[in-house]
């Protein structure tokens, strides 16, 4: 039996079109972390970020049958999520966005004993201090996004993702060494 990561996104879309809930669940598991990265990097607080991601999935439910390129569903989702974040910022009477991550206050999990939590917090703080483009790109790539998905979320030519990634990583290393 193939593991879930071996199944292509296009195949999952085709199976979900036939009504297979397991295929939809697999899409949700595969892409929700990336969409969350996009929404949080854009500076949306927790509930607004959840709203943007959920709106993105609701759009896919309605359009899954008419997607032109099922294989590119990740890029499609990233683009829709970017627009949803944008709409939330522009919504009338929207609360002002808060800096990303300022309401992150999870209880330390069992994992925190086995990793250097201080180091991870410093790393996350350094990323938050970076320009939005670097922040979104690195956080997306850390969530296993492809260059195509990053280019869709940031509205950049796909060819520029590699060079910008290298610059952003260099910059992040620099600020950690300070």
């Amino acid at each position: 039996m193939r593991s879930e990561v071996d199944v292509t996104a296009g195949e999952l879309v085709v199976r979900a079109r036939k009504g297979e809930a397991a295929a939809w669940d697999a899409l949700v598991r595969r892409y929700t972390p990336m969409l969350w990265s996009v929404a949080r990097s854009r500076g949306l607080a927790g509930p607004a970020a959840e709203d943007a991601v959920q709106a993105t999935w609701l759009r896919l439910v309605q359009r899954i049958d008419t997607l032109w390129e099922p294989e590119s569903v990740g890029g499609w989702l990233a683009t829709v999520c970017r627009n949803e974040c944008h709409a939330l910022f522009d919504a009338p009477f929207a609360p002002p966005p808060r800096p990303p991550g300022d309401d992150a206050d999870p209880a330390p999990g069992p994992e925190s004993r086995s990793v250097d939590r201080d180091r991870l917090e410093r790393l996350a703080a350094a990323l938050r201090a970076m320009p939005e483009r670097c922040r979104t790109m690195l956080r997306m790539l850390a969530s296993s996004a492809t260059y195509t998905e990053v280019s869709a979320a940031l509205d950049l030519p796909v060819g520029s993702v590699g060079p910008i990634r290298a610059r952003c990583l260099r910059r992040l290393r620099g600020s950690l060494d300070e």
Partner: protein
């Protein structure tokens, strides 16, 4: 993967993971799938001048193949009152889908409908026409 990116992945998994409820909500969205429905897309969204004296009011228009849905949204605290018209006019059953479930209403022969108590957030209108075909609007944040 770059070592630093791998560290970043661990950092955000620990410090700011997607909430489990988000996965649940996204999974549940599949239940709204209705491949046979005709989709009416949002084509106009405006807040008329002078609105907001007694709550805010928004006018939305959804356009699909041979169908238009005009919707006026009034705020009454955290809930919304929807007043609208389906064109061409015909009676229909309306099911408003929102974050807390569904609210049902009837569309009269002139195509008009009204329904209240809709929670703010993502909302979609699902019409069942007399010939049993269905029309849905795109999800909108009301």
């Amino acid at each position: 993967m770059d070592e630093l990116l791998d560290e970043l992945r661990r950092a955000f998994e620990l410090l700011d993971p997607p909430p489990p409820a988000l996965f649940e909500a996204a999974r549940a969205a599949f239940a709204f799938r209705d491949p046979d429905a005709s989709l009416a897309e949002l084509t106009r969204d405006s807040t008329p001048a002078g609105a907001g004296l007694r709550g805010t009011s928004r006018l939305l228009t959804f356009t699909g193949e041979n169908v238009t849905v005009e919707l006026q949204v009034s705020s009454a605290g955290p809930v919304r009152v929807l007043t609208g018209r389906l064109t061409p006019a015909r009676p229909a059953t309306l099911c408003v889908r929102h974050s807390r479930g569904e609210t049902r209403a009837q569309v009269d022969e002139s195509g008009h409908f009204v329904t209240g108590g809709i929670p703010s957030g993502q909302v979609m209108l699902h019409f069942t026409l007399p010939d049993a075909t269905t029309v849905v609007t795109s999800w909108s944040r009301l």
